[in-house]
C-alpha cells in the first residue's frame, strides 16, 4: 500500500501543490499554469505511483517536451502570434528601456556565482530576472533541468506579484517632480509593411548578435509574422489557441513533475526563490534609473516611472506605471508610453537571454 511509504516531505509537497491549486483557482493567479503545475506536483509525490520513473507518464512528457526544449519553443510561437508590437514601433526610442530592464539578469548572475551556485545553475537562476516564464523555462531546462521546478514557480509567482514588488522601488527612486511629468502624445503612423518587415529584421539582427537566442527570438517572430502578414490566419489561430493550449497543459504538468520532495525540498530552492526576487527588483531599479537618465537627456520629457515597465511582464507592468503615475498627477496618462516600454521588455528579455548564453559560450562555460 502506498500509504505506508508516504514520507513527510511528500506530504509537504502535496500541500505545496494544493497551495498552488488554491492560488490558481481561488485567487486567480495564473490559473492556466498553476493548476496543471499544482496537480503535477501532487501526482509526482504519491509513493509507488512512479510517474517520474522510467516509463512513467509524467517522465514521458518531461523527456519529450522539456529535455528537448520543444514545449517552451512552441509556446514562443503562440506568444508571437498574440503580441502586437505596434506600441513599440510608434515610439522606437523607448526600446532602450526594454534593454535597461534586463540588467537584473546580469547582476543576479554575478550574485548567484558569488553565493556558490554552479555556473550553469547560476544562469538558470539569473534568468528569472527576464520576468518571462517561457524564457526562464527554456534556459533552465537547457542548462539546469533539476532547478526547473523552483525557477518556473519563482518566475510565475513574481510575475503575478509585479503590482506589489514594483511600486515601492518606483516611489523610492524618483523625485516628486519626476513622478508628475506628463508625457505628450508621440504617435507616428506605422505602415503594414513596417509591421511585416519588423519580425524578419529583428530575427536576423538579434540572431546575428546572439546566436544562442535564435530559437527563442526566431519562434516569437515567426508567430508575429504570421499575425501581421494576414495571409495564414489558420496557422496564426492554431498557434495562438490549440497549440498554445495543448503545450501549456503538458508544460505545466511536466513542471509540476519536477517538484518531487527529494529534489525540491532543499535549501537551494529557497535560494532560487530569494535570488529571483532580487533579480526582478534589480530590473525595476535599473529600468527606473535608466528612465531618469532619459528624462535628463530629453530635458524632462520622459517620465522615469515608465522605466519600470521595461520588463517582460506584459501588460502587468504597464498597468502598474499607469496607476502610479496617476497617483501623483491625476492628469497623467502614462499607459500607452508604458506599453511601448513593456513591449520592448518582451523582446529585451529574449535578446538578453541570448546574449548571456552567447557570452557564456564564448567564455567556454556552456
Amino acid at each position: 500500500m502506498g500509504l505506508s511509504h508516504l514520507e513527510a516531505g511528500q506530504v509537504l509537497m502535496m500541500l505545496i501543490g494544493s497551495l498552488l491549486l488554491y492560488l490558481g483557482i481561488r485567487r486567480g493567479f495564473e490559473p492556466l499554469l498553476l493548476l496543471p503545475i499544482g496537480f503535477g506536483a501532487i501526482l509526482v509525490n504519491i509513493p509507488q505511483a512512479e510517474l517520474m520513473e522510467e516509463g512513467g507518464v509524467l517522465r514521458f512528457f518531461y523527456d519529450t517536451g522539456i529535455l528537448t526544449e520543444v514545449f517552451p519553443i512552441l509556446i514562443f510561437i503562440g506568444i508571437g502570434a498574440m503580441t502586437d508590437f505596434q506600441p513599440l514601433l510608434e515610439n522606437p526610442k523607448i526600446i532602450l528601456l526594454g534593454a535597461a530592464g534586463q540588467f537584473g539578469i546580469f547582476l543576479t548572475l554575478l550574485l548567484a556565482l558569488a553565493l556558490g551556485f554552479d555556473k550553469l545553475e547560476a544562469v538558470a537562476v539569473a534568468i528569472i530576472g527576464a520576468c518571462d516564464g517561457p524564457t526562464a523555462i527554456y534556459v533552465s531546462s537547457k542548462y539546469a533541468p533539476h532547478l526547473l521546478g523552483a525557477v518556473s514557480v519563482a518566475a510565475y509567482s513574481y510575475m503575478s506579484l509585479v503590482p506589489l514588488i514594483q511600486p515601492p522601488i518606483m516611489r523610492l527612486l524618483t523625485t516628486e517632480r519626476e513622478k508628475k511629468i506628463v508625457m505628450g502624445i508621440e504617435k507616428r503612423p506605422v505602415s503594414k509593411t513596417t509591421k511585416i518587415l519588423f519580425p524578419v529584421v529583428v530575427t536576423i539582427a538579434a540572431s546575428l548578435i546572439a546566436p544562442l537566442g535564435t530559437p527563442l527570438i526566431g519562434m516569437v517572430m515567426l508567430g508575429n509574422l504570421m499575425r501581421e502578414s494576414g495571409v495564414v490566419e489558420r496557422l496564426k489561430n492554431a498557434s495562438e489557441n490549440e497549440i498554445t493550449n495543448i503545450v501549456t497543459l503538458l508544460l505545466g504538468l511536466s513542471i509540476g513533475a519536477t517538484m518531487e520532495a527529494a529534489k525540491f525540498l532543499r535549501v537551494e530552492t529557497l535560494m532560487v526563490l530569494g535570488l529571483g526576487f532580487i533579480a526582478i527588483s534589480l530590473d525595476t531599479v535599473m529600468g527606473v534609473l535608466f528612465g531618469k537618465l532619459m528624462c535628463f537627456l530629453t530635458g524632462g520629457r520622459i517620465n522615469p516611472l515608465i522605466g519600470a515597465a521595461g520588463i517582460s511582464a506584459f501588460p502587468m507592468s504597464a498597468r502598474v506605471v499607469q496607476v502610479e503615475g496617476q497617483r501623483y498627477n491625476k492628469k497623467n496618462y502614462l499607459l500607452m508610453h508604458a506599453l511601448s516600454a513593456n513591449a520592448s521588455g518582451q523582446i529585451g528579455s529574449i535578446v538578453a537571454a541570448g546574449i548571456m548564453l552567447s557570452v557564456l559560450k564564448g567564455m567556454g562555460i556552456v
Binding site: K187, A318, Q322, K330, Y333, L335, M336
Partner: protein
C-alpha cells in the same frame, strides 16, 4: 489613450473642479479615470459609454 468609454460620471451643465473625475475609460482591462483639466462648467460631452476612442479624440468641453 486608445480604449473604450466605460462610464460618464458627470452631466452637461455640472460644475467640476480641477482633477474631478469626469469620465472612466477602459484600456488594457483596467479602469482609468479621466479627470477635468480645469475648473468650470461642462459644456458638451462628445462621447457615450461603450464607445471606442483614439488618441487625441475630444471627449468633452469645459468652460
Amino acid at each position: 489613450m486608445v480604449g473604450k468609454i466605460l462610464r460618464i460620471e458627470k452631466n452637461v451643465g455640472d460644475r467640476v473642479d480641477e482633477d474631478d473625475v469626469v469620465i472612466v475609460m477602459e484600456a488594457m482591462k483596467m479602469e482609468i479615470p479621466v479627470v477635468s483639466p480645469a475648473s468650470g462648467l461642462i459644456k458638451v460631452i462628445k462621447i457615450s459609454p461603450g464607445q471606442a476612442v483614439e488618441v487625441g479624440d475630444l471627449l468633452a468641453e469645459i468652460e
